[in-house]
Symmetry: C2
Subunit: 342 residues, 2 copies
């Protein structure tokens, strides 16, 4: 019977008042008497009234939707981020709209456009690995829509962002290796397009220097750092005259690949070669030996990104917010793959 949904007009008619009053009553407007508010909410319940977010959004210019752009949803890191974002956003009464870029800059631009068309109140995003042209993000800024980037960032941009201190993370990891007695430390890194990998490399070099360990170019191997890449990189290392006695990989998968190859060659980990990964993916704790890794506090990163968005939203309208940068200190999670002395 009640096929059609009830609107504020229906409530208004029922009570012989206007829709305006109903609207204000429902929004707890101070200049509406408690009596009417009560009556309105009562009838609203009776008629099973449900607010029409779209209509409200259209009129008010506020959709209460937060757009999130991630490379892929099925990686622990991004899943955790999404969780962290949603946790906070939801409490502030925002719905989260998700887009995946699959690391494709074109899809990234399309996602931005789609979210803008949906009139999201803000966007939280992580750059795709291959993004070089950032004009789609500038559009967002130009429109005055709060934008927060996380993890992957580019210094050309002046946008709020939350990242971890990749430099420190790498530094800590390498220092730990040194303290465990490693002197020939290799490093797996990605092509140097994206700042996080540059920073980690920088941290790696700095640690070596601080401990007077010579930097050996042959020990730095570039790849995509997936499992297979890690294996190949390790195999390459094994052909050197001076085989490394420690590896700091910028990805956990890369580290795992190396670990597998070492085991297959009966190389003792950590005694002969100590290994450290990056990201603290869930699988790191289950390998044998468990893999030491650098934790990025993913969920927290998501929380903070949401917080920044909310802040900027609040400020919005007054004047343009100055970009805010939050740097989280990563945490070295020490496990057996790097622990020589117990």
């Amino acid at each position: 019977m009640n096929r059609k949904k009830a609107t504020i007009h229906d409530i208004a008619k029922e009570l012989n008042i206007t829709a305006s009053t109903v609207s204000r009553a429902l929004n707890d407007h101070p200049r509406i008497s408690d009596d009417t508010k009560l009556a309105v909410t009562r009838i609203a319940k009776e008629l099973r009234y449900r607010p029409h977010n779209l209509a409200a959004a259209l009129r008010s210019g506020k959709s209460n939707i937060l757009g999130v752009i991630i490379p892929v949803a099925d990686r622990n890191f991004f899943g955790s981020i999404v969780r962290g974002i949603e946790e906070i956003a939801n409490h502030a009464n925002y719905q989260v709209m998700i887009c995946q870029t699959y690391e494709d800059p074109k899809k990234e631009a399309a996602a931005v456009q789609a979210l803008m068309n949906s009139r999201v109140d803000g966007i939280i995003a992580s750059l795709s690995k291959n993004t070089l042209d950032f004009s789609h993000f500038n559009k967002v800024i130009d429109e005055g829509i709060p934008l927060v980037l996380f993890d992957r960032y580019n210094d050309q941009l002046e946008i709020s962002h939350v990242v971890i201190d990749d430099y420190q993370g790498a530094y800590k990891a390498v220092v730990h290796l040194i303290q465990q007695g490693c002197r020939r430390i290799a490093h797996f890194t990605n092509v140097q397009k994206i700042s996080i990998y540059r920073e980690r490399l920088r941290g790696y070099k700095a640690a070596l220097q601080d401990y007077n360990i010579p930097f050996v170019p042959d020990y730095v191997i570039e790849s995509d750092m997936q499992l297979l890449d890690g294996r190949r990189s390790m195999e390459k290392l094994l052909t050197l005259q001076e085989i490394p006695d420690g590896i700091f990989s910028s990805s956990d998968l890369g580290a795992m690949g190396a670990l597998q190859v070492c085991k297959e060659n009966n190389i003792n980990i950590p005694q002969q070669i100590a290994i450290i990964g990056f990201s603290n993916e869930p699988f790191t704790m289950f390998s044998d030996p468990p893999l030491t890794s650098v934790d990025q506090h993913c969920k927290r990163m998501g929380n903070i990104a949401s917080d920044i968005f909310l802040e900027e939203t609040k400020l919005s309208g007054t004047e343009k917010f100055i970009p805010k940068k939050v740097v989280l200190m990563p945490e070295l999670v020490i496990r057996k793959s790097s622990l020589r002395k117990s």
Copy 2:
């Protein structure tokens, strides 16, 4: 300068035509001349016109938003599902809106409500573990909004859903154990509220029966099947007079816990005890020995859920769709934790 966004009216004014015509031109309406279409798109680009999805949604009653409800985003299973859903939905021009329930039925009901208020065109959801009251889902059905459940399902409902054949998955796993020579096979399961665990238990029992292996109640252990639960369960098993020689766990984490305890007790895996998990989480391939597990084809499940949604959307309006059930055959991924004979 162009602070305000261009609307179809702006385009119309520019060309001395009406907004209706512009709208039709942009939507490639057949009764608009190619000339006007061209002119419109040209001016549209010039004015940087961007469609206002909300306005269109309000008017047309179609938001092109698909709601997704999952327990949590930071678990591989659900991340993959989300990815699978978005992949398809995005191609069909839908945006995906995400809600997490954290396994809380109240949050689940709230999520349904929120999505309905956002006038999503459909909802894809997985039940929270503790949901017993399904009225919020019935509301969705009553409103005629396509609803698709995945993985976790309840037979009280008559709703389209896509699940894997948990019975077969379990059956295959246990048969594999038997073929590897196991005769005393234990099973880790969850409390029996949710059908997937009941089905797996059923498959377990059936396999035993088919191979004339007696069912030993002591070998079935109920828990939440997290890592620690798995450990405790294994410890419990080790106190029995007849220690099992095979374990089929309904979760990978549970299996991992058992595996850890076995290794700590110098029990050879798989020779003394063979172990199989369920879900084929990423970490299963990295443990030592790698863990045999049952793959659920998560991403594919997401794809199919999206497909069903799209189908129902197409049918919608004609008559009510009959609920569709898709059952995926799970795949036993055999790794060393269960492989005795090479």
